[in-house]
């Protein structure tokens, strides 16, 4: 089962190769081919998981509670698949949209370090190992977000760094307290101990520290302020990668922790999750509707959509968690795509500001189609993926009688639709304002549209194959709600 480690080892090998390669041309080729390979590996892992239920690797042959376990279940493999799909699309996009001073290998080294951290976080079965992968992810994201080193990027970078650093310190503190109380950090062993333990008071301190730490990473309601302050300053390629992947790693860890071992005291936690989910949705949506910089609209929008995922976790039925996973993956694909399209618009028109944009529907009809697909998928228009994601969540909420949060979710959908229509009206439909100076020499090649078209296709496929995909997420949810399977698989593997 060494194959499980491949999503970590492959980026690692690519980093080594890229360190020794100085030529921009070869770096680009290796970047794209490497991420394509990564995508194939994660497809294969999903196929393996659908045959074997759960894949476990005890690293170094040290048995489970003592060594580090790498575990791939349905949730991990679905997240891996979505993440590597986005990594693949963004690596093609970087080909034309990154202007790296010291050559491309620098960019791709940190790009793959980020990918390694993200993949490691998805497959790790040990809390401390998860912390290490979070740090790998965070350090490379620091470098990527300050790439270019202009004044804005440094400003955004400092804000991003501060709050993420505090988050990881809280994570470490929570982890230390958890170890002090249970004497183990293996997730399966923790689940075994904590599921048979009624002393929830002791656990609540570290559960709360973890909640705040992941809350900052995930950008949920009272803790999201770093995201809109920093995402619009970075290079658009980096922003789209972050928008697609980083906050969703936080969602993944919240789902993992609060289904696997922080399960005592459920009433308190689920209500807390639902309350913060509601506020996250509404405040993100409202803040998005008053912005005029497209990147900031979409940044607030990320926050608003995070609310839906947390809502699924808060309702805590198999259907709701399946909905949350469905929503997360749909959102990763569609959200990245809207950012990629904004990058293309910036290239054509030279600006991100809605007030200066216009006339794109006539000039670039294909771009308009791509935008419609991803924006309306986000808003939840029926044949597209977002509709099914929201439908599952709302159905789960009604079945479990959470009417208030459902009302909030539907209302937020309207806000989403409003801000998407705002971009559509201002950038695409109306006539170009005469005062905008457009550089006519800029040519957009067909190649620029390729990653965006790829993601739009993914979004469409998620809508068309929604039933099959929903079955997968439901399997993932059932697996999550029965921690016994996870414990059994990890603690009883004798290889």
């Amino acid at each position: 089962m060494t194959l499980i480690a491949l999503p970590i080892l492959l980026p690692f090998m690519l980093i080594i190769v890229l360190v020794f390669i100085r030529s921009t041309f070869y770096a680009k080729i290796i970047g794209v081919i490497g991420s394509a390979l990564l995508f194939l590996v994660s497809v294969y892992l999903l196929i393996l998981v659908s045959h074997n239920e759960m894949l476990v690797l005890q690293v170094g042959g040290w048995e489970a509670p003592y060594g580090i376990s790498l575990v791939v279940d349905y949730l991990s493999s679905l997240m891996l698949l979505a993440a590597s799909f986005i990594v693949f699309a963004v690596s093609i996009y970087a080909y034309r949209f990154v202007k790296a001073k010291r050559g491309f290998s620098m960019f791709f080294i940190f790009f793959f370090a980020l990918t390694m951290g993200v993949n490691g976080a998805f497959i790790s079965g040990d809390v401390f190992n998860l912390y290490v992968w979070f740090e790998v992810m965070m350090l490379s994201s620091f470098v990527l977000i300050t790439m270019g080193a202009k004044k804005e990027q440094l400003e955004g970078g400092i804000k991003y760094l501060t709050l993420n650093l505090i988050a990881s310190l809280l994570f470490l503190a929570g982890l230390g307290l958890l170890y002090g109380k249970t004497g183990t950090l293996n997730m399966a062993h923790l689940a075994q101990i904590l599921n048979n333990d009624q002393q929830s008071i002791l656990m609540n301190t570290s559960a709360m520290l973890f909640f705040i730490a992941f809350g900052i990473k995930t950008a949920i309601f009272p803790l999201f302020f770093w995201l809109p302050a920093s995402y619009h300053t970075a290079n658009i390629t980096v922003t789209s990668l972050f928008a697609g992947i980083l906050t969703k790693v936080g969602v993944y860890t919240l789902i993992r922790f609060f289904t696997l071992f922080f399960v005592q005291n459920g009433y308190f936690w689920h209500n807390l999750l639902l309350i913060s989910a509601g506020f996250t949705m509404v405040i993100g949506g409202m803040a998005a509707s008053i912005q005029y910089d497209t990147r900031r609209i979409l940044s607030y929008h990320i926050i608003s959509q995070i609310g839906y995922m947390i809502m699924g976790l808060g309702i805590y039925t198999p259907l709701a968690i399946a909905g949350a996973i469905f929503f997360t993956i749909h959102n990763m694909v569609a959200k990245t795509n809207t950012f990629l399209i904004m990058g293309i618009i910036k290239k054509i028109k030279g600006t991100f500001y809605l007030k200066d944009l216009g006339g794109l529907f006539k000039e670039k009809p294909f771009l308009a189609i791509l935008f419609v697909i991803s924006a309306f998928a986000l808003a939840g228009i029926p044949p597209l993926s977002g509709f099914f994601a929201k439908f599952i969540l709302i159905k789960a909420g009604i079945e479990d009688k959470h009417y208030l949060i459902i009302a909030v979710a539907v209302l937020t959908s309207m806000l989403t639709l409003y801000s998407m229509i705002k971009i559509w009206n201002q950038a695409f439909l109306r006539v170009q304002p005469s005062k905008t100076k457009v550089d006519e020499r800029v040519k957009v090649a067909v190649f620029d549209y390729l990653p965006s078209a790829l993601l739009a296709l993914g979004s469409l496929m998620l809508g068309i194959l929604a039933a099959q995909f929903f079955d997968l997420t439901l399997l993932a949810a059932k697996q999550l709600l029965d921690p016994g399977i996870y414990v059994e698989a990890v603690l009883n593997t004798m290889k």
Binding site: A149, E155, I158, K159, T162, L165, I166, G176, K181, T233
Partner: protein, 114 residues
């Protein structure tokens, strides 16, 4: 010893929070160092201190109370290394920021929040 170290942890947290809320970026970085050291101490302490006992004994199957637990030290060591990297990165960022804007004031960071 544990009481003393716990008090030190609290002091470091308090100092770190105080320094992080200052306007100067350099003091802010010192605050981050304080906080990360406080967290390392917390992890170290929460597993309990066993005084003067080895972590491993050859061939002796003794009960766990008499042995020191080596894992928290390994965790703290890793965390220190990570903290080292982050602090260096923060310093480099601050340096670069000072070169481009020639200011040490966090209040000057409001230009992108329009």
């Amino acid at each position: 010893m544990e009481i003393l170290l716990s008090a030190l942890t609290g002091l470091l947290y308090a100092g770190g929070v105080f320094l992080i809320l200052r306007r100067s970026i350099l003091k802010f970085i010192i605050g981050i160092i304080f906080l990360s050291n406080a967290t390392n101490l917390l992890v170290f302490l929460s597993a309990g201190i066993v005084h003067g006992k080895p972590a491993f004994l050859d061939g002796v199957e003794s009960d766990s109370g008499k042995l020191a637990d080596p894992l928290p030290q390994a965790l703290v060591l890793t965390a220190i290394v990570i903290g080292f990297g982050i602090v260096i990165f923060t310093l480099a960022l601050k340096y670069k920021f000072f070169i481009t804007t020639s200011t040490n004031d966090l209040d000057q960071l409001k230009n992108t929040d329009v």
